[in-house]
Each structure stands twice: as structure tokens, then as C-alpha cells.
């Protein structure tokens, strides 16, 4: 029985309604409790900021495309003129890599920043075993993974024929097979069309040979998701990513949520999460007249209450892009002439990987940086707005503290903006320079804790400090009465003074104390459906006819997920 009391910190937590009031946080046996006895270990948090452990709603940290990045970018471990691999503590595993870090570095760096839960945002079902092997080896962080459904042959057929029961039974089957968490949809139809050298650029472009449109796919996936009453909403990377003028496709995609209503027992009241919105908020017709449409897109997001978004902030680093949006990666490699790798995953999905340098002297990159910040700063409901870098696509997750500091300190971001080579062009084509808003610590706690936990359906255990919740607590060397600015704020957010995971002190003064201080859990969703002979027949038939492996070798067996946390849902 371990008891800890974190005393006299300024607590920011929307779940318990604290906006920086001085309060004590009590921990007993891995959970937050009302009070503890006199013998409790005391942590002095006076003059410091206390928040729940953070939750990353969208990151790429495990699985075949991450590893493909590691394979073909050995140079990633030598960056910034230093050896990134040299980071080692006496009691922890050696850490390596910058934009595609090793599993150890991933777990430790997230812990240093105070993170407790990561959502791997794209799991190819066929390679789910690999995803879970990496998740298993990532220390400290509880994790889950979203299988991709937006280019899946089964789903195309069921949704096109309006067979909602079959679609739901198939999704439930895949979640059970892959130990998956929910429905991810990447470039709906477009990645399949890419197999034929084509793409879907609007929500109405039909997928070749399947004659279903992205709009029908998104609509059908939302209906399936709510029919199954899953904890998370549909998680969408819409069509036409990264192209000038794409904001109309984005708005068309978001509008599909209008006809739907959330149906679940997890406190989630939204039906569609649009990820890395920065890449989808572009105006203009070419890179020459490219401009920000962040305001237009966020005006819609602000008034449409059943959708959520994450930002996808560009961090101005050399990074490694990777997405199940195969055609986009091909397109990107033709723009920057660097290395390109592509994988097709049989009947299910595809992925591409390309190194990318977001240069401070490249107009497009400077614009993307500004647009990402605008999106967060235009948000009215911070419980529907989350900060991500779409790690590693817009930048490595290790830059979160820098992104937070840009959002929280106008002077800091303006210094960056004014230092750009194309700063006057960026100021003309975006509205960032006119925005005075600075995100508060309380808003930050919503965007990085309560909001992602809620949209993932984990709001009762993660993202807050109310009694009964998991004792994930981050303490930062930030005194709200004397707020640090700029780089000092960034450094304070990068190295938690303390981080407790499930009530265990894992980090002190930015140093991870042990290699595997806690048992990390893998969350997956077991949605019960009536037995569906049609779907089971279709599955075995497709495996016989098309898959390169046997059905028996498909499922993620128990030993891949040694510490499962199963969320069971009763039959719809």
C-alpha cells in the first residue's frame, strides 16, 4: 500500500474544476484518492504546476511503417550536430533516434514530458502483430492502436451495399483479431485508388472498381462506429492532404458528421475526430498563391459541436513523414527528391515513408508552421481541440514543449515568425501576426489531457485528477504567479520535475529513474455482435482467395499483448 501526497502545487485540471488553485493531490495504490494518512510520502509542489498525465490522441510510434523509417533512415540518429543515440542513464535502456526514435526512447521521452497514454494512429491489421510487439517494448506508456479501415475491401463492399450489420460485425472481428481500439480512416478510397495509379481528391471521387465514394465511406464508418457504441469516434485523415486549396475537401468531409449522433457509454459526445487539421486547411491553387484557410475551417469546427480535431503542428525540423496515404508520399518525394519507400498491405491499406526538411527558409514550411498555430489559437472549445505534431509527420513529438510554448507566449512565436526568410509573405498569407491570444495553463491541460482522454472514451480514468482516476500526475517547474517565458517555459515543459505513472514515481527532474518502472497496459476494445455467418464466410473466402497468409496466422495472440486492458461492450 503506497501513499503519496503532492502538496501545495498549482493544480490545473478541468475534471476536478481546478484552474491553478493551490491544492494537494493524493495517491493510493495507483489511483487518485481524496486523502491519505500521515505516513504518506510528501512531494513538495509549492510554486509548481500540477496536471494529470498527458494523453497523445494521434502519434505514430509502433509498427511496420515506423520501423521502415528506422531501417532506411539510419542517419536519423545523427542529427542536430550531436549524437542523439548517446542519451543514456545508469538505470535505463540506451536511447536512439530523433524523428523515429527507438521504442525505449519513445517511452522515456514521453514520460519526461509527463505523458501517460499514447494512441498509435494507424495499425495495418495484417501487421498488427508487429505493432503490438513494439507497443509491448515501449516502456511506461499505456497504449492502444487504431486499425485502418478507410481502404479495406470488406468495408467497401458492405458499406456500398448498405449492410451496416455486416460492416459492424467485420469491424468487431478485426478489433478482436488485431487487439485494436477503434476505426481509423486514412485518405478514404484514395490509398486503394493509388493501387491503380489514381487518387480520390474530393469526397465524391469514386474508388475505381468499387464504385464507392469517400463520402459514403466516411458516412458508413461513422454509422458503424455508433452502431457498435465504440469508446472513440471515427478518426479521420481526410482526402486531399497537403495540397493547396484542400480546405473545401476538409469542410465537405467534416460536414458528413452533421447527420450523426454519438451513441456510447463512455462519455464521448462527438462522432468524428479529424486529425492533423493543419495539413488540411490550405487555400490557393498552387504553392505560389498558397494561403491559410485555418480561420474558415476553425469557424466551422467551432460551431459543429459533434466533431473534434487535432492540430498537426509543424515544428521546423528535419523529420520523417509516414502515412497510410501512399499517393501523398509519392507526391511528396517528387517534390523534394529525397528517398521514398512504399508498402502495399494486400487487401487492407498501403503506406509511404519520405524524409522531409521543414526549413526555416522555405516559404511553404513557414506557412505550414503558422497555419498549425492558427488552428489552435482560433479554437473556441479546448475540449474539442488537441495539440499534436502528427509525430513524426509534422515534427517529432519531443517538440511538444516548443509547440506549447509558441502557443502560450506570443512574443516567442512572433520572434520565430519575424525571423523567417519569407516572414512578410507568411504574415500576408496567414493571420498569425494579428492573433494576440496566449493559451493558458488551464487550456493546455484541456488540450493535452482532458480533451484527448474524453474523445478516446477514457475520460473516467485518464486526463484528470479526480478521485478514482489513474494516478498519472505530472509536476512542472512552472510557477503560474511568475510565469516563465519562451525557452524557459519550453524547458520546464520538456522535463517534468516529477512524473507519476499509476502512482509510481518514474521521472524526477527530467530523468527517468528506472528502465521499466511500471507495468504498461495495452488497451483494446472487444465489441460484442450477434454471430454473423456471412462475415465469417466472407473472411475465410477472402483469405483463401487473396491473402498471402492463412487466417490462423492473422490474429494477435495473447503473448503479443502480455498486459491487456480489455474494454468490453455489450451487444448492440
Amino acid at each position: 500500500m503506497t501513499e503519496i501526497i503532492i502538496k501545495n502545487g498549482h493544480v490545473f485540471d478541468s475534471v476536478s474544476g481546478l484552474k491553478g488553485e493551490v491544492a494537494d493531490v493524493c495517491i493510493k495504490d495507483g489511483k487518485i484518492v481524496e486523502s491519505v494518512g500521515n505516513g504518506a510520502t510528501v512531494i513538495d509542489a509549492a510554486g509548481k504546476t500540477v496536471m494529470a498525465g498527458a494523453v497523445d490522441v494521434h502519434t505514430h510510434v509502433a509498427g511496420p511503417k515506423v520501423n521502415l523509417g528506422r531501417w532506411y533512415r539510419p542517419e536519423d540518429k545523427f542529427r542536430l550536430g550531436e549524437r542523439c543515440s548517446a542519451k543514456m542513464g545508469p538505470n535505463t535502456h540506451i536511447e536512439g533516434g530523433f524523428s523515429i526514435p527507438t521504442v525505449f526512447k519513445t517511452g522515456y521521452e514521453y514520460a519526461r514530458m509527463g505523458f501517460a497514454f499514447l494512441m498509435e494512429a494507424a495499425m495495418p491489421p495484417l501487421y498488427a502483430r508487429h505493432v503490438h510487439e513494439e507497443i509491448r517494448d515501449t516502456p511506461i506508456q499505456d497504449e492502444a492502436a487504431l486499425p485502418v479501415f478507410g481502404n479495406n475491401w470488406f468495408m467497401f463492399e458492405y458499406l456500398k451495399n448498405g449492410e451496416l450489420d455486416n460492416a459492424a460485425a467485420y469491424v468487431a472481428w478485426v478489433l478482436r483479431q488485431t487487439k485494436g481500439y477503434g476505426i481509423k480512416c486514412v485518405n478514404p478510397g484514395g490509398s486503394e485508388a493509388w493501387g491503380w495509379g489514381l487518387n480520390c481528391m474530393t469526397v465524391n471521387d469514386p474508388v475505381p472498381y468499387f464504385e464507392i465514394t469517400p463520402k459514403e465511406i466516411i458516412d458508413g464508418l461513422i454509422a458503424t462506429n455508433e452502431h457498435l457504441k465504440l469508446p472513440h469516434s471515427v478518426h479521420l485523415h481526410s482526402n486531399n492532404l497537403g495540397n493547396p486549396g484542400n480546405y473545401t475537401t476538409t469542410l465537405d468531409s467534416l460536414k458528413i458528421a452533421e447527420g450523426h449522433k454519438a451513441n456510447n457509454a463512455f462519455g464521448r459526445d462527438t462522432v468524428l475526430h479529424h486529425t492533423h487539421l493543419q495539413f488540411h486547411s490550405y487555400g490557393g491553387t498552387t504553392w505560389a498563391d498558397f494561403e491559410s484557410k485555418a480561420k474558415e475551417v476553425m469557424d466551422y469546427v467551432n460551431k459543429q459541436e459533434n466533431i473534434t480535431i487535432d492540430t498537426g503542428n509543424v515544428t521546423l525540423d528535419e523529420t520523417t513523414t509516414m502515412t497510410a496515404d501512399g499517393p501523398f508520399e509519392y507526391h511528396l518525394s517528387a517534390l523534394n527528391h529525397l528517398k521514398w519507400a512504399n508498402v502495399d498491405v494486400e487487401l487492407e491499406t498501403a503506406a509511404g515513408v519520405v524524409p522531409y526538411i521543414y526549413g526555416k527558409n522555405v516559404k511553404v514550411c513557414e506557412m505550414q508552421w503558422a497555419i498549425g498555430l492558427e488552428i489552435a489559437l482560433y479554437a473556441k472549445d479546448m475540449m474539442r481541440t488537441m495539440i499534436t505534431t502528427d509525430h513524426p509527420n509534422a515534427g517529432p513529438f519531443t517538440r511538444y514543449p516548443r509547440v506549447y510554448a509558441w502557443l502560450m507566449d506570443k512574443e516567442y512565436r512572433d520572434a520565430e515568425l519575424n525571423g523567417f526568410k519569407w516572414s512578410s509573405k507568411v504574415i500576408d498569407a496567414t493571420t498569425l501576426a494579428e492573433i494576440d491570444r496566449e493559451i493558458s495553463l488551464y487550456e493546455l491541460s484541456q488540450m493535452t489531457r482532458a480533451a484527448p482522454a474524453k474523445v478516446l472514451g477514457l475520460g473516467s480514468t485518464f486526463g484528470g485528477l479526480a478521485p478514482g482516476m489513474n494516478a498519472n500526475v505530472a509536476v512542472y517547474d512552472i510557477n503560474p504567479d511568475n510565469m516563465p517565458k519562451g525557452i524557459e517555459l519550453e524547458n520546464a515543459l520538456a522535463k517534468a520535475a516529477y512524473f507519476f505513472k499509476d502512482g509510481v514515481k518514474c521521472v524526477e527532474n527530467g530523468v527517468v529513474l528506472e528502465a521499466n518502472p511500471v507495468v504498461k497496459e495495452t488497451y483494446w476494445v472487444d465489441a460484442k455482435v450477434p454471430e454473423n455467418k456471412q462475415v465469417l464466410h466472407d473472411v475465410s473466402e477472402k483469405f483463401l482467395k487473396y491473402y498471402s497468409i492463412n487466417l490462423e496466422n492473422y490474429d494477435v495472440a495473447h503473448h503479443y499483448v502480455p498486459h491487456p486492458h480489455v474494454i468490453e461492450i455489450e451487444e448492440a
Binding site: 539510419p74 542517419e75 545523427f78 549524437r83
Partner: protein, 268 residues
């Protein structure tokens, strides 16, 4: 210029990570402070003082600092002079991998051999290797497309394979012979081999100059002889066969002219 002499006390069992051994890291420090600089052996963290006897003090800046590395076991030291920007380093023996890698300036002399990946992605300065160099001298790091950009390297002996991969600028002079893969993917710079090169010289080269006095055992098929010309190279005047290539690659244009890589061999 002030000189710091560091002498290995014993031969390391594993390899020492000596990225602290540069004029930049030593600058402004006395012997005691230098002894406190980090130095890992495998995954164990030590300080330089655990491994080296340190005599003398550094100058105020890197440019005012000379380091002499002595003792049996220098061949178990990696990263000596890596990332150095100024000053001087002399290794009285053989040095292990990554010696002078990412070097930007100053002078680095190794009296023995250097092992693979030395002078990797070098940007500037002068690097003299009195013995031979192993593979990947002055190449891009594996996977990277940004090779040597500047500076000068002189190797008195032979070099291994993959010399100057993705080279962009600077000069490499090899007084001995070179193994396979010379200047692969080169986009600039000059490689001079006084001996002979084995094969695959200038493969996928787009731009830059490669001189092979002793000729190549096997020429790449993508090179075409265009002329014979007298040229002065490293103080010697000779008549060379001049080839352009690699014709299997797409080549950029400059002022309306297609730019090629050039390969020169001595006319018999």
C-alpha cells in the same frame, strides 16, 4: 597555442567514445576540468580522467588549443576530433571509427591508420592520415545523402571501399590505392588517387572530379572518353585521359550546358 597532452593509462576493453577530445570541448579548461569531461566505454559512463593522464591546459578558444593523444590503445578510441571547428589534434597512433567525422575546421593529424567512417560528412579543415584509411572515408553517413562538403584530406597510404560517397565539395588526396566504390553519387568535390582504383569508380556520379593516376582495374560502363589533356594535379603535371559520366544518371544543366562528372586517368 596551448598544448594538452592526454595519454591512455590502459587499453580499453571495449571502445571509448571520445567525442570530448576536441579543441572545442577542451577550450578554456585546465587539466582538472578536462579530466571531468564525459567519456563512455560501451554503455558505461566515465570521465576522461578515468582513462587518460592529462597534462597541460587548453587555450582560451578552440583555435588556441592543440591536443596530443598518446599511449597504447588509441585504436580503441572513436570520435577523436569529431565535430571540431578549430585548433589542432594529433594522434600518435591509430584511431578508431568516426575520427574527424563532421569536422568543420582546424587540423587533425593521425600518425597511424584511421578506421571506417572517418571524416564522415566533413565540412572544412585539414585532415592528414599518415597510415591508411579503412572504408567509408569522407562518405555520407549510411542512409544520408549529404556527403563531404569542404576541407582537405590527405591519406599517405591506401583507402578501403566507399571513399567519398555523396561527395559535394572539398578535396581528398590518396597517395596509395583505393578499393571499390569511389565517389559514388558524387555531386561535387575532387578526389585524387595517386595509385590505382579497383572498380566502380564514379558510379552514379553527377558532378565533381576524380583523378586516378594508376587507372581503374575495371571502368564503369557509364563513362565516355572525350579528350586527352595536360593538367596540373597536386603539384604534378601530367597528360590525362578525360572521361565524362556517369551517363546512366540524369545530369543538371548550368548556363545551357549539361554538367557531367569527370574522371581522369594518366595517359600511358
Amino acid at each position: 597555442m596551448d598544448t594538452v597532452t592526454i595519454t591512455l593509462k590502459k587499453v580499453p576493453g571495449l571502445y571509448l567514445e571520445c567525442e570530448s577530445v576536441t579543441p572545442d570541448k577542451f577550450a578554456g579548461k585546465n587539466a582538472e576540468e578536462i579530466a571531468a569531461l564525459p567519456c563512455a566505454e560501451g554503455k558505461r559512463n566515465y570521465v576522461l580522467g578515468d582513462w587518460f593522464e592529462i597534462a597541460g591546459a587548453a587555450g582560451a578558444t578552440a583555435a588556441d588549443t592543440k591536443i596530443v593523444v598518446n599511449g597504447a590503445g588509441t585504436d580503441k578510441c572513436k570520435y577523436i576530433g569529431a565535430w571540431m571547428t578549430a585548433g589542432e589534434v594529433v594522434v600518435n597512433g591509430t584511431a578508431d571509427m568516426f575520427t574527424g567525422a563532421w569536422m568543420e575546421g582546424g587540423k587533425l593529424t593521425v600518425k597511424g591508420d584511421v578506421r571506417s567512417f572517418s571524416a564522415l560528412q566533413m565540412k572544412g579543415g585539414e585532415f592528414i592520415i599518415e597510415g591508411r584509411a579503412w572504408n567509408y572515408l569522407a562518405a555520407a553517413y549510411r542512409g544520408d545523402w549529404r556527403g563531404m562538403q569542404g576541407g582537405t584530406i590527405r591519406v599517405k597510404g591506401d583507402v578501403g571501399s566507399d571513399l567519398g560517397t555523396f561527395m559535394n565539395g572539398g578535396t581528398i588526396i590518396v597517395e596509395g590505392n583505393a578499393d571499390i566504390h569511389v565517389g559514388t553519387h558524387a555531386e561535387g568535390g575532387t578526389i585524387i588517387i595517386k595509385g590505382k582504383a579497383h572498380r566502380r569508380v564514379g558510379g552514379q556520379m553527377v558532378k565533381g572530379e576524380i583523378y586516378v593516376f594508376g587507372g581503374c582495374d575495371v571502368m564503369m560502363p557509364g563513362f565516355k572518353k572525350i579528350e586527352e589533356r595536360e593538367i596540373e594535379v597536386d603539384g604534378e603535371k601530367h597528360v590525362f585521359n578525360v572521361f565524362i559520366g556517369d551517363l546512366g544518371e540524369r545530369h543538371p544543366k548550368s548556363k545551357g550546358e549539361v554538367v557531367y562528372g569527370h574522371l581522369y586517368t594518366l595517359k600511358e
